[in-house]
C-alpha cells in the first residue's frame, strides 16, 4: 500500500518550509538501480509551503494561453485554504519541476496538483492539531491561518524553524525517447499522484468559481515578460536557416558568403540543414538571403498539388479501418431497411497552427555534451527526451527551460516540431550558444500541419422521421509526426511515425445506432522526402474537430429531410440531460426561431443577401457545447459573413468564469477562421501559402457579435472549457449556410470561390 510520509530534514537551510515531493512506489525504495542523482525529476519538490505563509507550486506543464497559470493557483489555494495571491507558480523547466506531462492536459495536471495540495493540507492539519492541542476535526483554516481551541496559528508559524519533507506516492516516470512508442516518446503523461486524500467538497469552493486574474498579464502588458525570443547569452550567435527548394530537395552546393559584405557571418551545414550564423541578427538575416539565392538543391515533386488533394485522398487504398466503434451489421441493416437515407461525402484541406510568432529557440551545447535549451514548447520533458534521443545522450544531460511565446494550439503537445533541434545542432557545430529564429515563411511552409481529410457518412430515417442509424468512415493521413525538422534535415536520429489515431468523437445521440470507421493508414503526403513531407500533427480539439463537422452536418441534413427543427431533432435523439439543457439555454440566448431548415426565403442565386441560422453540438472531456451561427450569404459573389454566434457550454464546475468567457469567445474566432478562410495550399513540391496574405486567418472586422452561455454544476466534476469552442463552429456555420441557400456545403472553408462554384452546380 502506498503511504504518505512526513519527515524532518536534518539540516535547516532556510527559515522553515514544508516540501512536498514525489515518491515513486517500488522504484527508489526498492533499489531499482536508479539513484536520485540520475533522476532529476525526482529531486525537485512539487509544492513548497514556506514560513512566510506563501507557497510555490512547480509543474512541468505550461501556460498555453488559456489561463492555466491562473487556474493552478486557484486550485491549490482552494485545497490549502490559502489565498491564490500567496501562491506562486514555476512552470516547465525540466530541472526545476517534477511532474512532466503535456500542457494541453490541464484537467489531468490539475487532478494531480489538487491531490498534492490535499495531502499537504492533511499534513498541516496534523501539525496544527499537535501544536494547538486539539483534534484535527476541531480545526478551521482560513487564508492560511489555522484556528482551534480558541487559538490561532499560521502555516508559516507552524513551519518556522523546521524543514519537513512530505513524500506522496506517484506512478509514472519522466518522458524518455522510445523510438518504438507512439510519437517516439514514452511516458508522455508524466506522473500520476496515487491515493485518495480527503478533498474539499465542491459546494464549499470559494476560490474556484471566481474570476481570479491570470498572474502573468500585467507583465505582458507592461513589457516585463521575458519571452523565449528574448533570451540572449554571452557569445550567442543568431541563426537563419536556408531551407531546401522543395520539401524533398537535397543539397547540391551551398552558395558563397561574401565576407566583405558580411564580415561576421559564417555558414554552418550538416546534411541538408543549412544555416547562416552571425553575432548580429540583421547580418544573419541578409547574409542568409544572399546565401540562399546561390544555394543549389535537387528537384523534387512528390506531392499532389493542393487542388488535387481530395481526389488523392479518395483514390488512396486505405485498407480496413484501423479503429471502429459500434456494430457494422446492425447499422447496415438499419440503412437497408430505412424509409429514407441521407448520405454525403465531406472534406477539408490541410490547415495549420500558424502562430503569430514564428518558432524560435536558443540552445547552449557545451563540450561535455550538456545541453540547455530555452523554448516555448508545450511539453518540456517530451522535448528533452526527443533532443536527448537525437544526440544519443542520457536525458540527464539535457535541460529544457520554458518561457512564454506565441500560442501554437497543440503543435508541440507531443514534444516536437519547433526550432529547438535546429538550435541544438547549430550550437553543437559552432561551439557557441545559438538562437534560431524561423521566419514566417518557414513556419508556414515547414512546420507540421493538421492534415486534410475526407469522410463518407450516411444516416437512416424511419417512416416517422426518426433517425435510426448513422455510419461514418473517416480517412486522414496520420497526425502524429512530430519529428523535429532539424533532426530530419541534418540526418540525425529520430523515430518512425506509425500511422495511428483514434475515434476522437463522442456520440451524444444515445438513441441512434452508430457505426464509426476510421483509417489513418496514409503516411504523410510526400513521406519519402528527406523532410518527411507534410508532417501531420494534432491541432486544437484534434480529430474531433474534423469528425464533429461531419457528424453534426449529417445530423442537420437528416433533420432537414425529416422536416424537423434541428434543435428539437437533436433533443429527440438524446437522453443526455446536460446536452439538452445547454442546447435549450443556448437556443434561448440566440432567440432561436424553431422551424425546419432551409428558411422559406432561401435562395441560391442572385445578388441579394440571404440569411440563415444553424446549430452544432460537441461533447468532449466532460463538457457539453452548443453553437448557433447566424450567417449572411450573397450567392452571386459567394461572400459568407457570420453576423452572430451564440456559444454555450456546461463544463461541470467552472473554475474561472471570466477566463472561460474569453476562451469561448476566442475559440469561436478560431473556429470561424477555419470555417471561412483557412487552407494550406501547395504545388507538387512545396507549400505555397507562406504569408498572411496567402494563409488567411480571421481579422477583427470579420468577428461577429459573440454571446456566451455558461452552466456551472457542482455535481459533475470538472470538464474541459478551454479547448473545444472551435469545434462547434464549422458545423453551425455550414447549417446556417444551408438554411440561407438550401444547399449543403460539405467542405470547409466557405471561401467565395468554393461557394460560388457550389451554388452554381446546385
Amino acid at each position: 500500500m502506498d503511504t504518505v510520509t512526513l519527515t524532518r530534514r536534518d539540516l535547516l537551510t532556510g527559515s522553515g518550509a514544508l516540501f512536498v515531493s514525489l515518491y515513486c512506489a517500488g522504484r527508489l525504495s526498492a533499489g531499482s538501480g536508479r539513484s536520485a542523482s540520475t533522476e532529476p525529476a525526482m529531486l525537485a519538490s512539487w509544492l513548497e509551503i514556506r514560513s512566510d505563509n506563501t507557497a510555490l507550486i512547480r509543474t512541468g506543464r505550461t501556460e498555453t494561453g488559456t489561463g492555466m497559470s491562473g487556474y493552478y493557483p486557484q486550485v491549490i489555494a482552494e485545497e490549502l485554504r490559502m489565498r491564490p495571491e500567496a501562491i506562486s507558480l514555476l512552470m516547465g523547466d525540466t530541472d526545476k519541476t517534477p511532474d512532466g506531462g503535456y500542457s494541453a492536459g490541464f484537467l489531468y495536471g490539475m487532478s494531480n496538483v489538487r491531490k498534492v495540495a490535499a495531502y499537504a493540507y492533511q499534513a498541516l492539519l496534523k501539525l496544527a492539531a499537535r501544536r494547538l492541542g486539539v483534534d484535527t476535526s476541531a480545526l478551521e483554516v482560513v487564508d492560511g491561518v489555522v484556528s482551534g481551541g480558541g487559538r490561532r496559528i499560521t502555516y508559516g508559524q507552524l513551519l518556522a524553524g523546521q524543514e519537513l519533507d512530505l513524500k506522496i506516492p506517484v506512478r509514472g516516470q519522466p518522458a524518455r525517447a522510445d523510438p518504438k512508442a507512439w510519437a517516439g516518446i514514452g511516458s508522455l503523461e508524466g506522473f500520476t499522484v496515487l491515493g485518495d486524500p480527503p478533498m474539499k467538497p465542491m459546494r464549499e469552493f470559494n476560490i474556484i468559481g471566481t474570476s481570479y486574474p491570470v498572474p502573468g498579464i500585467p507583465d505582458k502588458v507592461t513589457g516585463k515578460t521575458q519571452w523565449s525570443c528574448d533570451v540572449q547569452l554571452p557569445g550567442m550567435l543568431h541563426a537563419r536557416l536556408v531551407r531546401p527548394a522543395t520539401l524533398g530537395s537535397t543539397l547540391i552546393s551551398v552558395g558563397g558568403l561574401d565576407k566583405t559584405l558580411f564580415p561576421t557571418a559564417s555558414i554552418v551545414t550538416r546534411g541538408n540543414l543549412v544555416a547562416v550564423v552571425s553575432p548580429d541578427e540583421w547580418e544573419a538575416v541578409i547574409a542568409a538571403q544572399s546565401v540562399a539565392a546561390a544555394t543549389r538543391w535537387t528537384e523534387w515533386s512528390g506531392l499532389p498539388a493542393s487542388e488535387q488533394l481530395s481526389r488523392a485522398l479518395r483514390e488512396h487504398d486505405w485498407g480496413p479501418p484501423a479503429h471502429t466503434r459500434g456494430s457494422k451489421a446492425a447499422v447496415l441493416t438499419s440503412l437497408a431497411s430505412a424509409a429514407k437515407t441521407v448520405s454525403g461525402s465531406y472534406e477539408q484541406p490541410y490547415v495549420r497552427h500558424a502562430p503569430i510568432g514564428p518558432f524560435v529557440a536558443v540552445a547552449d551545447v557545451r563540450g561535455d555534451a550538456s545541453v540547455t535549451v530555452w523554448t516555448h514548447s508545450a511539453h518540456s520533458q517530451g522535448l528533452r527526451a526527443r533532443l536527448a534521443g537525437m544526440l544519443n545522450v542520457p536525458i540527464e544531460k539535457v535541460v529544457v527551460r520554458w518561457l512564454e511565446h506565441a500560442g501554437q494550439f497543440g503543435r508541440t503537445t507531443l514534444g516536437g516540431d519547433g526550432a529547438e533541434a535546429d538550435a541544438v545542432i547549430l550550437s553543437q557545430l559552432t561551439g557557441k550558444p545559438v538562437r534560431v529564429q524561423w521566419t514566417l515563411q518557414e513556419d508556414l511552409a515547414w512546420s507540421s500541419v493538421s492534415p486534410g481529410w475526407v469522410s463518407n457518412a450516411a444516416a437512416a430515417l424511419d417512416a416517422d422521421g426518426q433517425l435510426t442509424a448513422v455510419r461514418n468512415s473517416f480517412y486522414s493521413p496520420h497526425m502524429d509526426d512530430v519529428r523535429p525538422l532539424g533532426a530530419l534535415l541534418a540526418g540525425m536520429p529520430s523515430f518512425t511515425p506509425a500511422p495511428g489515431g483514434g475515434v476522437a468523437s463522442e456520440w451524444p445521440y444515445d438513441r441512434v445506432g452508430l457505426r464509426w470507421e476510421e483509417a489513418y493508414t496514409m503516411p504523410n503526403l510526400g513521406a519519402g522526402a528527406v523532410s518527411g513531407g507534410l508532417r501531420g500533427n494534432i491541432m486544437r480539439t484534434p480529430g474531433q474537430r474534423q469528425q464533429n463537422f461531419v457528424l453534426e452536418s449529417l445530423l442537420n441534413e437528416a433533420a432537414a429531410v425529416a422536416r424537423a427543427d434541428p434543435i428539437q431533432f437533436r433533443i429527440q435523439h438524446s437522453s443526455q440531460r446536460r446536452l439538452i439543457d445547454i442546447l435549450n439555454a443556448t437556443a434561448v440566448a440566440a432567440r432561436w426561431d424553431s422551424r425546419p431548415s432551409p428558411h422559406p426565403g432561401a435562395h441560391k442565386q442572385g445578388a441579394q443577401t440571404v440569411s440563415g441560422r444553424g446549430v452544432c453540438v460537441v461533447v468532449r472531456q466532460n463538457a457539453y457545447w452548443a453553437g448557433i451561427a447566424v450567417v449572411e450569404v450573397v450567392p452571386q459573389t459567394g461572400a459568407v459573413r457570420v453576423t452572430r454566434f451564440t456559444i454555450g457550454v456546461d463544463c461541470g464546475k467552472i473554475i474561472n468564469p471570466r477566463q472561460l468567457q474569453r476562451c469561448m469567445q476566442s475559440g469561436v474566432v478560431m473556429g470561424l477562421s477555419e470555417a471561412l478562410k483557412e487552407e494550406v495550399t501547395f504545388d507538387t513540391g512545396k507549400v505555397t501559402s507562406t504569408d498572411w496574405s496567402r494563409y488567411r486567418i480571421l481579422t477583427m472586422a470579420e468577428v461577429p457579435e459573440i454571446e456566451v452561455v455558461r452552466i456551472s454544476r457542482d455535481d459533475c466534476g470538472f470538464g474541459g472549457g478551454s479547448e473545444a469552442a472551435n469545434a462547434v463552429v464549422p458545423g453551425a456555420v455550414a447549417a446556417a449556410f444551408f438554411d440561407a441557400t438550401g444547399v449543403w456545403p460539405r467542405r470547409i472553408p466557405l471561401t467565395p470561390d468554393y461557394v460560388t462554384a457550389l451554388l452554381r452546380a446546385a
Binding site: G67, I356, P358, L440, M670, I697, M700
Partner: protein, 174 residues
C-alpha cells in the same frame, strides 16, 4: 559599415552603433533590450512589432533604424510616461500609473498568449489619439483596415480588445 546613430526611445536619448538600414525591431530588441515589440511576420503583415514614431504607428520590422533618427520612438514600456506627461502627473503618481490602455488590457484580461498584444496596444493608443470615443465598428475598422495590414491575433482575442479599447477610451475621457 556601422554608423553611430542617436535614437530617442521612450523619452531617453539612446546612442547606438548599427548599420543604418537595420530594421528598427532588431535595434530595439537586441541592443536596447526592449522586449515589448516582437518580431512576427517580418513583412508588415501582422502588427506584432508595432511602435509609435512621433505618435504614429509604424511597423518596426520594415522600418530602417535611420528613419527613426531625430524622431520620438515609443514602445509599450514607454506608454506610462506618455500618459503621465499628457496628464501632468507628478513623479510619484507617474511611477505607479499605467497608461489607461495598459490598465484596460489588464482589467479586461485581454492577453491569452499575449504575443500580438504589444502591437495591439500601440494600435489602440494611436486610434484613441485621433478618436477619443470610437464605436465598435470604428475599432474593428481601425484594427483591420489601417495600412499596412490588419493587426492579427491567432488566439482570437479580438472581442476582448474591443472591450478594452472602449474601457480605455472612457477612462481617458474622464
Amino acid at each position: 559599415m556601422a554608423d553611430d546613430l542617436r535614437l530617442t526611445v521612450n523619452g531617453i536619448d539612446r546612442p547606438v552603433s548599427v548599420k543604418p538600414e537595420t530594421p528598427l525591431i532588431f535595434v530595439l530588441r537586441n541592443q536596447l533590450k526592449l522586449s515589448g515589440p516582437r518580431l512576427g511576420c517580418g513583412m508588415a503583415q501582422c502588427g506584432a512589432c508595432a511602435v509609435l514614431i512621433d505618435g504614429a504607428e509604424a511597423r518596426a520590422c520594415i522600418t530602417p533604424v535611420s528613419f527613426a533618427v531625430g524622431k520620438r520612438v515609443t514602445t509599450i514600456e514607454g506608454l506610462p510616461a506618455v500618459w503621465a506627461a499628457q496628464k501632468g502627473l507628478g513623479p510619484s503618481a507617474a511611477a505607479t500609473t499605467l497608461h489607461p490602455v495598459q490598465q484596460a488590457w489588464i482589467d479586461e484580461q485581454v492577453p491569452q498568449c499575449g504575443y500580438c498584444q504589444s502591437g495591439m496596444m500601440i494600435a489602440a493608443v494611436q486610434l484613441l489619439s485621433r478618436n477619443p470615443d470610437p464605436s465598435i465598428a470604428q475599432i474593428k475598422d481601425a484594427f483591420t483596415n489601417t495600412a499596412p495590414s490588419p493587426h492579427l491575433c491567432r488566439c482570437g482575442t479580438y472581442l476582448a480588445i474591443i472591450d478594452a479599447v472602449r474601457r480605455a477610451a472612457k477612462a481617458m475621457r474622464e
